[in-house]
């Protein structure tokens, strides 16, 4: 608790004790009034002061003013106990609210406790702690075990495992060694690392993420705007209602019905109105829900750039995916070796050696699959034939590796592959030696992710890709995607998304999920752009509305479920709070609800709404 809150708490206790004590003292008249004034002023002096200032500044519909009028009115009617109690409960409510808000504020900033305080720079053999802001690009910094990586860079010395859970929500540590890129915000767990920085602190991942999260709730959602508009109308409306309630019924009774006006009774009912006029519960619980929702999501590695996006995401009915990098790993791997008289490893060795001088992605994947260091002395006479492949001498044998065209050109008979992917045919000394199948690998959780999306009510899934039709259809069939558009140029993707946007109804939203590489225009064109695996990709963080920190497609449905939960709670709070207030107003006008009832309902609704809002923070099990 802060000092301010503690002071209020002490005042609440003193006032409460005094009010209870007064129940046992039977005095009448001015003495009674005087005695009740003590707890009333103890608990309410600041409200009265603020109300006075409000009048000077012409802020009549200020809740302090309303509370002051309601309680002074009650006291004037002789209801000392009620007047004091209303003030007391109002303060209890305010205290709870400020405590809860402060608590969740801290909770969420703890979650995002990734801001590094210093960077270690080695100077004359000793480590010196420097402000990360002052580190220039290219400086070598030292990160000891247990410390946060302060700035993005490349490892120049040491190996270690990194805990990236604060960034990605992923609990499996990431192994790094020399030449690996490393992103700021991770925690170094085991070994000492020396890192050459590649970015300034302000441009580093950790700064970008913090900036994004901290500014997130500034983009307000429709519900938030609705509530602030509602609050603006609600308070004056209730106040005028109260005024009318105090004046009209007595006049009507007197003039038309010939009854006694009963001014006191109607004024009391009007004062009850004023007690309910504060829109606090609504105004606090809605932004709190969004704030907690965004905070909870970021703990799971889902960064949401604003509450408005959380709202849109919850209405998503169509999800459009990019293929490469989103549903597939985007790295080509050897997936099979067929029709070879040689042993698999042997053929792979020949192919990898022959391709050892090439930097083509296909060659790289062959070398990766081979997995052993390559002795380039065994390779000579490399001849590349553009668009076909290459020939080279390996251990004195002539090896030809390439596509079907190469085989035709060399007049070698070859077998076609029944699988989908890139085929590397290999011939050794003019004889066909089989082919190697290289294909993009579907991500582990991709099929599961599509199923999870369907389960959470997504009506249509579409995959867009620049890849060949047979590859695209094959992937889509494996994953259970409804619609595929293949052989698209980057520009076509925007058109395709626009087409889908015009076809769907206004209410249903379309989300596009991409890896941020060349799909920035599509990300911004869709109702909601989701970039995945975006760690370190600035363009994606810029263009997307929601950023998935790791590249697990399961996070898409998780993000949608988080948004749904958050929006559900927001609506619960809106209906619940407005509903209770309306009921109280009606009961108050009919004279059924008294001031006690009103203040209990008001504070109670606020407490329940705040507790409900905090529920959005818990998203782990979604």
């Amino acid at each position: 608790m802060t000092k301010k809150q503690k002071k209020v708490l002490v005042r609440i206790i003193i006032a409460a004790v005094l009010v209870i004590a007064l129940q046992f003292i039977s005095v009448k008249g001015y003495v009674r009034f005087g005695l009740y004034m003590i707890p009333y002023l103890v608990i309410g002096y600041d409200i009265l002061k603020k109300a006075g200032k409000g009048i000077l500044n012409r802020q009549i519909f200020d809740e302090n003013f309303l509370m002051a009028v309601a309680t002074i009115g009650a006291i004037a009617l002789g209801d000392y106990k009620e007047g004091t109690a209303v003030m007391l409960f109002y303060q209890i409510g305010e205290l709870f609210q400020s405590y809860a808000v402060g608590k969740s504020r801290r909770n969420i900033s703890d979650l995002m406790d990734i801001r590094p305080d210093y960077a270690n720079v080695e100077k004359d053999g000793e480590l010196e702690q420097v402000d990360p802001d002052e580190i220039e690009i290219g400086t070598v910094i030292v990160v000891q075990p247990g410390e946060k990586v302060p700035i993005d860079g490349v490892v120049v010395e040491g190996t270690s495992s990194l805990n990236t859970s604060a960034l990605t929500g992923e609990s499996v540590p990431r192994e790094v060694s020399v030449d690996d890129e490393i992103i700021s915000g991770c925690i170094n767990m085991t070994g000492l690392l020396k890192i050459r920085t590649t970015k300034e602190f302000g441009e580093s991942t950790v700064s970008k993420i913090l900036e994004l999260v901290e500014n997130a709730s500034s983009r307000k959602s429709r519900s938030e705007n609705f509530i602030s508009k509602f609050a603006k109308i609600y308070t004056p409306a209730v106040c005028y209602g109260a005024l009318a309630l105090a004046i009209l019924p007595p006049i009507v009774r007197m003039a038309f019905m010939g009854l006694a006006p009963e001014w006191g009774d109607w004024v009391y009912r009007a004062l009850t109105f004023l007690v309910i006029s504060c829109p606090c519960a609504l105004v606090i619980s809605i932004p709190l829900s969004f704030f907690a929702g965004i905070g909870g999501a970021s703990r799971e590695g889902v960064l949401v750039k604003g509450s408005s996006f959380l709202e849109t995401l919850s209405q998503t009915k169509i999800v459009v995916f990019d293929k490469t990098g989103t549903m597939t790993k985007g790295v080509f791997e050897v997936n099979g070796i067929h029709h070879s008289p040689y042993k698999d490893e042997e053929l792979l060795e020949y192919a990898a050696l022959a391709e050892s001088y090439s930097t083509h992605p296909i060659s790289k994947s062959l070398q990766r699959a081979y997995g052993k260091p390559i002795d380039k002395n065994r390779v000579s006479d490399v001849e590349e034939i553009g668009g076909h492949g290459l020939t080279a001498k390996v251990d004195g044998k002539v090896v030809a590796a390439g596509n079907a065209k190469l085989m035709k050109k060399l007049g070698i008979e070859y077998h076609d592959c029944s699988h989908v992917g890139t085929i590397v045919h290999v011939a050794i000394d003019g004889k066909y030696a089989g082919h190697i199948l290289i294909s993009d690998v579907i991500k582990e959780h991709a099929a599961e992710a599509i199923a999870a999306l369907k389960k959470s009510g997504i009506e249509k899934t579409v995959m867009l890709t620049g890849d060949a039709k047979n590859v695209a259809d094959h992937v889509a069939a494996q994953l259970g995607i409804d619609e595929v558009c293949s052989e698209l140029l980057p520009g076509d993707k925007v058109e395709k998304v626009e087409e889908l946007l015009t076809k769907k109804s206004e209410k249903d939203k379309l989300a596009f999920v991409g890896d941020g590489i060349n799909d920035a225009p599509v990300l911004s064109r869709a109702d909601i752009g989701i970039a995945m695996g975006a760690l370190g990709s600035d363009a994606a963080i810029e263009a997307a509305d929601i950023v998935l920190m790791d590249d697990d497609p399961l996070k898409i449905s998780k993000a949608i479920r988080i948004s749904r939960k958050c929006i559900r709670i927001v609506y619960e709070n809106i209906y619940f709070a407005i509903g209770i207030k309306v009921i109280c107003l009606v009961l108050g006008a009919l004279g059924i609800a008294n001031m006690w009832f009103a203040i209990f309902a008001d504070v109670g609704v606020m407490i329940l709404a705040v507790l409900n809002a905090i529920r959005t923070l818990f998203v782990k099990k979604l």
């Binding site: 802020q59 400020s98 709730s217 500034s218 105004v283």
Partner: protein, 72 residues
């Protein structure tokens, strides 16, 4: 030009009032108050002197909510 200021205010409704007050200050194009992060993001009109404008913003905010602070 956009600038972010740290603020201190106790209730969410007061934050909304501050937002309105800031928006209606001369020299301010748009303003957003983020109650949960306790921040005010002010977009100034072109050529406006941020420091002078912020003084007015603070004055206007104090008018609608006495118990608030903007850390300039």
């Amino acid at each position: 030009m956009k600038k972010t200021y740290k603020i201190d205010v106790d209730c969410a409704n007061c934050a909304n009032k501050m937002e309105d007050a800031a928006k209606n200050t001369a020299g301010v194009k748009d303003a957003t108050v983020n109650f949960m992060a306790l921040k005010m993001i002010v977009e100034f009109e072109e050529g406006a002197d941020a420091k002078a404008v912020m003084k007015d913003v603070l004055k206007n905010c104090k008018k609608v909510e006495d118990d608030c602070e903007i850390f300039l």
